[in-house]
Symmetry: C2
Subunit: 149 residues, 2 copies
Amino acid sequence: MSTKTTVRAAASQDLAAIFNLVQQLAHFEKAPEQVTSNIEAYHTAFDQRIFNALVAIKESKIVGTAIYTLTWSTWKGRMLYLEDLIVEESARNQGIGQLLFDAFIKEAKELKCALAKWQVLDWNEGAIKFYERNGATIEKEWWNGKITF
Amino acid sequence: MSTKTTVRAAASQDLAAIFNLVQQLAHFEKAPEQVTSNIEAYHTAFDQRIFNALVAIKESKIVGTAIYTLTWSTWKGRMLYLEDLIVEESARNQGIGQLLFDAFIKEAKELKCALAKWQVLDWNEGAIKFYERNGATIEKEWWNGKITF
C-alpha cells in the first residue's frame, strides 16, 4: 500500500458513502435496479441498530465497508452476519478487503459470537478464494428462499 | 386437522420447547452434534431480542416453531430472516407448517420489512415445493461462507 489505510466503526455521517458503495456493488453484480432501499432508511435502521458497519479510510476518504448484523444461529448461538464487504474499484488489490474482513472477524469475537457467516456468488472466484485463504468453510448445498413485499 | 392448532408469539417459558424442536431438526438434517448452543444462551438472546419466534399450539402442546430475526438487506432494507421453521414429526402433514409460515409473513409485513428470506437444503424437495407454492423465489447461485470460533 502506498498510503496507510485505517479501519474504524462507522458513524451516522458515513452512511451516504456506505450507501454509495452498496450501489457500486449492485452495478458489479449486474443488478443496479435491485437496490430499492434509500439513504433515509439507512439512517433509521442504523439508529435502531438493525445493522452496523466498519469503514476503511484512505487519504481521508471512505474506500470500503463491511456491513453486518448481529443475528442468531439456532445451532451455534450468537452469529455476526456479513451482509456486504465492498471495496471501491479504484482501491482494489491493496489489501483493503483483508483489513475489513479482519476487523469484521475481530468484531465477531469481541461480541462473543460463536459464528461468522456471509454469502458469495458462485461465479465470484476471486472472492471465494479470498474467503478460503481466510480459513472459511464454503457451503454449496443451501439455496435461498425469498419473498419481496 | 382433527383438532384446532393456533399460532402465537413465543414467550420466555416456551424456549425449552423451542430448543427441543431445534434439536429434533438437527437430527432430521443428520447433524445433531452440530448443535452447540444451549438453553441458557437461548434465554439471554431472547431477552436481548436478538431473535424472536412464533409457536404452534395443538392440544396445549407446542408442536412447531418459526424462529426469526429482524435484519438488514443492503439492497432492500428491513428484512425478516426465517432461521428455522420446524414442525414436530408426529404433527406433520396437517397444515401446521403453513400456519407458521403465514404468521411469519404476516409478522414481516407488520414489521414493515421489504423482504422475507430463509434457506433450504437443496435435497429437501418437500420444503422447496412448499416454499414455491407460497410464491417464493428460490435462488441457487449463492454459496454460504462461514467461520466458527
